[in-house]
């Protein structure tokens, strides 16, 4: 049964340092060991994709301005937000949360990856005051 399972897998070849090769050959179940080690390393060491091979930033969620009761963005504000979104994607963030700043027409933002707040600040909407609401 074990040998059938083994031949259903795809063979890969790679080079390692000699001491590591000796250790590896001494293991009773090399395939299972290497497979487990690779899966663990991919899952733990890649902050962008979490071992899935697909960066979390590609699924970035940005708050809908209408549902946040925020007015239209001016050209300048939109470009600020565009830069912020690009930064959030680069940082593999999962969310850019937007809400109206207290006592002004500016927009507070928070860039988040999972439960971690990566950065926060305020987008100026100075030009937006001339827009119809």
């Amino acid at each position: 049964m074990y040998s059938i399972m083994l031949y259903m897998k795809t063979r890969v070849t790679f080079r390692v340092a000699e001491d590591l090769a000796v250790t590896l050959r001494s293991l009773p179940n090399q395939t299972a060991f290497v497979e487990a080690a690779l899966r663990e390393a991919l899952r733990e060491s890649c902050p962008a994709c979490g071992g899935t091979g697909r960066a979390a930033g590609t699924g970035l969620r940005v708050s809908n301005l209408r549902s946040q009761s925020l007015g239209p963005l001016s050209r300048g504000s939109a470009l600020q937000l565009k830069t912020l979104v690009a930064l959030a994607r680069h940082a593999a963030a999962t969310d850019v949360r937007l809400e109206r700043a207290r006592e002004s027409f500016d927009i507070d933002f928070m860039v988040v990856r999972g439960d971690t707040v990566l950065t926060r600040g305020t987008l100026s909407t100075a030009e937006a005051s001339s827009w119809p609401s």
């Binding site: 940005v62 809908n64 301005l65 239209p72 939109a78 470009l79 937000l81 937007l98």
Partner: protein, 131 residues
């Protein structure tokens, strides 16, 4: 209610809306395995659009409208934009678009053309001359 790019966009060579969109929600239909069967225009992915409205004043053709403001002649365009969400792997942010400002007369002619045409044939589309 989402923001929608209507058929007034067809054959446009201006990419100002793409440059302005903060979330890369404005896309073209560019499937990897075939030539697009859709009209030559841009679409807004309703799943990505955050309703910031930044694209609306950028469009020289005034082709970008809110769903609730859609004239009856352009209602079909809502479903066309929604398709970008349903088949998102076939839609991509345009890589290169030529930029040319259009005149107010061209905008008016374009509007008249599409409002008066129920379902025009492809050869009725008037491509813009490249400056």
């Amino acid at each position: 209610m989402a923001v929608v790019i209507t058929r007034l966009c067809r054959d446009c060579v201006d990419g100002a809306c793409v440059d302005q969109c903060p979330v890369e929600a404005i896309v073209e239909h560019r499937p990897a395995d075939r030539v697009s069967e859709l009209p030559n225009q841009l679409f807004i992915d309703p799943d990505l659009c955050i309703c910031c409205n930044a694209c609306i004043p950028e469009c020289p053709w005034e082709a970008i409208l809110h769903e609730e403001d859609m004239p009856a002649a352009f209602v079909d365009d809502i479903a066309l934009n929604r398709r970008a969400f349903e088949k998102s792997d076939e839609y991509h942010v345009p890589v290169t678009r030529l930029h040319r400002r259009v005149t107010s007369e061209e905008v008016e002619q374009n509007r008249e053309k599409w409002l008066n045409a129920a379902e025009p044939a492809d050869d009725q589309a008037v491509p813009l001359p490249v400056a």
